[in-house]
C-alpha cells in the first residue's frame, strides 16, 4: 500500500515534471526554429547587402578602398570581440548561436532587412564604362542629360580612365535620362528611364547606337591646293564652295587650305578640331599626294592635317545619292574654277574622302 501510495505520490510528482520537460522542449524547439528563421533572414539580409553593394557602390569605390575597408572592419571586429570576452563573454564556439539565437536577434535582423529593403528601393546608380570601341577610337566624352539639364558628367572615358558615374541615395522619382557622346555625331543619344531603384551600367561606346551618316571629306586636290588661302592670310582672292544636294544649296564662302567636312546637319558633323583624329585620313591624303608625285609632300600633308578643318552643314546625305560641288573665286561676278558631280558611295563605310580640283575624278 505504502508502495502504492509512494507510487501514486511519485506519479503525482512526475506529472508536473513531465509538463515542465515538455514545455522546455517546446521552448527549445521554438528557440531552434526562431534561430533558424533568424539565420535564414540573416542570410537574406547578407545577400541583399552584398547585392546592393555590388550593384550600386562597388563600381564607385576602388579596389584599394574595398581591401582597406575589409581589413579595417576585421580589426574592429577583433577589438569588439576582445572587449566582449574581457567583460565575461563566452568562448567563440557559440558566438553565432548567441548572436542570432538571442531574443533580440530576430527583430534586429528584421530591422536590418527593412533597412536594406529601403536601400534597394531608394538607391539608383549610373555608371559609364569605356568599352566596345573600334580601333582608333580612343577617347569619348559622355554626359547624362535630364531634360535640358546636365544630370551627370561630362566624363572623359578612354583606356586610361575607364569608368565614370556614381550612386544616388535617396531618390524616389523616376528620371528620363538621355546619354550623349559629345563631339561624336556618329553616335545616337541613348534614352533610358532611371527608376529610383535601378542601375544603369553602360559601355561607351559599345551600348550606343551608331548613326548611319555619310560624312564627306573634301580635300583640295593638287590643282587647287595652292590657290586656296591659308587660315590667317589676309590678302588676295577668296574662294567659295557650294554643295547642292536634295534641292538644297550649302555655301562655304571662304574656302581655306583645309579639309572640308559635309554631308550632315551641323550638329552631326565632327568638330573642326576633331577632324585630324579621323582614322585613316592622314594615310588617304598622303597616298593621294604621293601618287601625284608631289615634292613637298610633308609640308602639304602636314598643312592640311594641322589646319582646323571646315564644316559645311548640308542635307543629310544617303548612299548612292548624287551631289554637285562648285568651287570658284568670290567676286562680282563669281569666277567658277571647277565643278564636280560626285556620287555618295553606298557602302557600309560612312566616311568618304573626295579630292576636288581641276583634273580630279568627277570634276571639270
Amino acid at each position: 500500500m505504502r508502495a502504492v501510495n509512494d507510487t501514486s505520490r511519485g506519479a503525482r510528482d512526475a506529472a508536473p515534471a513531465a509538463d515542465a520537460v515538455s514545455a522546455g522542449e517546446k521552448a527549445e524547439a521554438a528557440s531552434r526554429w526562431r534561430y533558424r528563421l533568424t539565420l535564414l533572414l540573416f542570410a537574406i539580409f547578407a545577400a541583399a547587402v552584398v547585392l546592393w553593394f555590388q550593384r550600386h557602390v562597388e563600381p564607385f569605390v576602388t579596389e584599394t578602398l574595398i581591401v582597406g575597408g575589409t581589413v579595417s572592419a576585421w580589426g574592429l571586429w577583433k577589438l569588439i570581440w576582445s572587449m566582449y570576452e574581457d567583460a565575461g563573454g563566452d568562448g567563440r564556439k557559440d558566438l553565432t548561436r548567441r548572436l542570432l539565437g538571442g531574443a533580440g536577434a530576430l527583430p534586429a535582423v528584421v530591422f536590418g532587412l527593412i533597412i536594406v529593403a529601403l536601400l534597394h528601393a531608394g538607391t539608383s546608380s549610373v555608371y559609364l564604362r569605356y568599352g566596345g570601341a573600334r580601333p582608333n577610337e580612343e577617347e569619348f566624352r559622355v554626359q547624362v542629360m535630364d531634360g535640358d539639364h546636365v544630370f551627370m558628367g561630362p566624363y572623359t572615358l578612354g583606356p586610361g580612365t575607364s569608368i565614370g558615374g556614381r550612386p544616388m541615395f535617396p531618390r524616389f522619382r523616376a528620371l528620363n535620362l538621355s546619354y550623349q557622346i559629345l563631339d561624336r555625331p556618329d553616335f545616337e543619344p541613348l534614352a533610358l528611364d532611371l527608376a529610383p531603384w535601378s542601375a544603369h551600367d553602360l559601355d561607351v561606346p559599345g551600348d550606343f547606337p551608331r548613326k548611319r551618316i555619310h560624312v564627306l571629306k573634301f580635300v583640295p586636290g593638287a590643282g587647287l591646293f595652292s590657290d586656296l588661302r591659308k587660315a590667317g592670310e589676309g590678302s588676295g582672292t577668296r574662294h567659295y564652295m557650294e554643295v547642292r544636294a536634295q534641292g538644297k544649296t550649302a555655301l562655304l564662302d571662304d574656302l581655306l587650305q583645309a579639309v572640308v567636312v559635309t554631308g550632315a546637319i551641323e550638329a552631326n558633323l565632327p568638330r573642326p578640331a576633331a577632324l585630324r583624329r579621323i582614322g585613316g585620313l592622314e594615310k588617304e591624303i598622303t597616298d593621294y599626294f604621293k601618287s601625284q608625285g608631289i615634292a613637298d609632300l610633308d609640308a602639304v600633308v602636314g598643312g592640311l592635317l594641322d589646319a582646323d578643318g571646315q564644316t559645311l552643314a548640308s542635307a543629310e546625305l544617303k548612299g548612292g545619292e548624287e551631289i554637285d560641288v562648285e568651287i570658284g573665286i568670290n567676286g562680282a561676278p563669281r569666277q567658277i574654277v571647277v565643278t564636280c558631280r560626285l556620287k555618295v558611295p553606298d557602302s557600309m563605310d560612312e566616311r568618304h574622302t573626295f579630292f576636288l580640283g581641276p583634273g580630279e575624278r568627277g570634276c571639270q
Binding site: 593638287a222 590643282g223 587647287l224 591646293f225 595652292s226 590657290d227 588661302r229 591659308k230 592670310e233 589676309g234 590678302s235 588676295g236 582672292t237 599626294f289 601625284q292 608625285g293 608631289i294 615634292a295 613637298d296 609640308a299 602639304v300 598643312g303 573665286i329 580640283g357 581641276p358 583634273g359
Partner: protein, 287 residues
C-alpha cells in the same frame, strides 16, 4: 712722274650723244604671274621693288664694273636688265623667273640665260598671298642662281658685254694711253680684261674698232683712279691696222675737233677682287 695730258694729249672727244648714263644698268623686276598678282593684290609693288634692289645687289658682286641700279635713276640708264615672274602650264603652273634686257631702248634676247624655276609643278606650297615669303624665296633662288659659273658666264657673254660703259675717253698721247672713265677701285678689273672702243669715222666713213688691253689703274692726274688701257689692236671696217699705226690712224680721229660719238664696252671682263687700292706714294697695289 709728271704726266701731261691736256698739252701733249687731248682730252676727250666725243659728245655724249648716245647715252645719258653709260655704265648704269637699271634692274627691274615684274610680277606677271596671275596667281601672284591676284593673291598679293596691293603687295605686288613692294615685292617688285624689293626684289629689284636685291637683284641689283646680287649682280654687283660678279660684275662691279657696272653700276646696277635697283631703284629708278634720275637719268636714263644705258641698259635695262629685267626679271619677270611668270607662270606656265595648268592645273599646277610652273612659276619661273625669265630674263629680258635692252640697251638704249632696244630689247635683245639672252638665249643662254635660262629661266629660274621658282616653283615647279610638283611643289604645291606657294606663297601666293604672302609677299614676304615670296620675296625670301626669290632672294634665295637668285643667290643660288648667280653663284653658278654657267650663269655668270652667260650673263657676261650675253648682257655685260652689251652694256655701254662709257661714251667718252681721255687720251694720253704722251703715253699713248686711253683712259676710260671707269673707277678702277669700283670696277675691280683684272689686267687680262679686254675693252672695246667703237666709233664710226666720218671720212672716209668706216667703223673703227679698237681693242683695249691691258687695263690698269691710272695713277696720275688728271683722271686719277680711272681705268687706263693701251690700244692693242684696231680694225677699220674689216681691215686690221698695223700695230705701229694704231695711234695715228685709229686714235687720231678722236682728237679731231669734230670727233665722232664713241662707245666703250667690255669684251672680256675678269674680276680682280683686290684691285683698286692706291698707296700714298702713287703706286697701285695688286697682289
Amino acid at each position: 712722274m709728271k704726266v701731261r695730258i691736256a698739252a701733249c694729249s687731248a682730252l676727250l672727244l666725243a659728245a655724249p650723244a648716245v647715252l645719258a648714263a653709260p655704265g648704269q644698268v637699271q634692274v627691274t623686276f615684274k610680277v606677271q604671274s596671275e596667281k601672284f598678282v591676284n593673291g598679293l593684290a596691293g603687295g605686288v609693288t613692294d615685292v617688285e621693288k624689293q626684289v629689284a634692289e636685291h637683284l641689283a645687289t646680287q649682280l654687283r658682286a660678279p660684275f662691279p664694273l657696272i653700276e646696277w641700279l635697283g631703284t629708278a635713276a634720275a637719268d636714263a640708264p644705258a641698259a635695262v636688265f629685267s626679271g619677270t615672274l611668270v607662270q606656265q602650264g595648268a592645273p599646277v603652273p610652273m612659276i619661273q623667273i625669265v630674263w629680258n634686257a635692252s640697251v638704249d631702248g632696244t630689247a635683245f634676247t639672252m638665249p643662254q640665260l635660262d629661266p629660274i624655276t621658282l616653283y615647279d609643278s610638283r611643289t604645291l606650297v606657294r606663297p601666293y598671298r604672302n609677299a614676304g615669303e615670296l620675296t625670301d624665296d626669290i632672294d634665295d633662288a637668285l643667290a643660288a642662281w648667280i653663284r653658278t659659273d654657267t650663269v655668270e658666264k652667260s650673263l657676261h657673254d650675253q648682257f655685260v658685254t652689251q652694256v655701254p660703259l662709257a661714251n667718252r675717253v681721255d687720251l694720253d698721247a704722251a703715253r699713248q694711253a686711253i683712259v676710260i672713265p671707269l673707277p678702277w677701285e669700283r670696277a675691280k678689273v683684272r689686267d687680262d680684261s679686254v675693252f672695246i672702243l667703237e666709233f664710226v669715222r666720218p671720212a672716209p666713213a668706216e667703223k673703227v674698232v679698237l681693242r683695249l688691253t691691258p687695263p690698269s689703274q691710272r695713277l696720275i692726274d688728271p683722271a686719277l683712279g680711272a681705268t687706263e688701257c693701251a690700244a692693242a689692236a684696231c680694225t677699220e671696217g674689216v681691215a686690221s691696222v698695223a700695230n705701229d699705226a694704231i695711234w695715228s690712224r685709229c686714235v687720231q680721229a678722236l682728237l679731231d675737233a669734230n670727233a665722232p660719238p664713241l662707245l666703250v664696252t667690255v669684251r672680256e671682263y675678269k674680276q680682280d677682287p683686290h684691285a683698286g687700292a692706291i698707296r700714298p706714294n702713287g703706286t697701285s697695289v695688286s697682289p
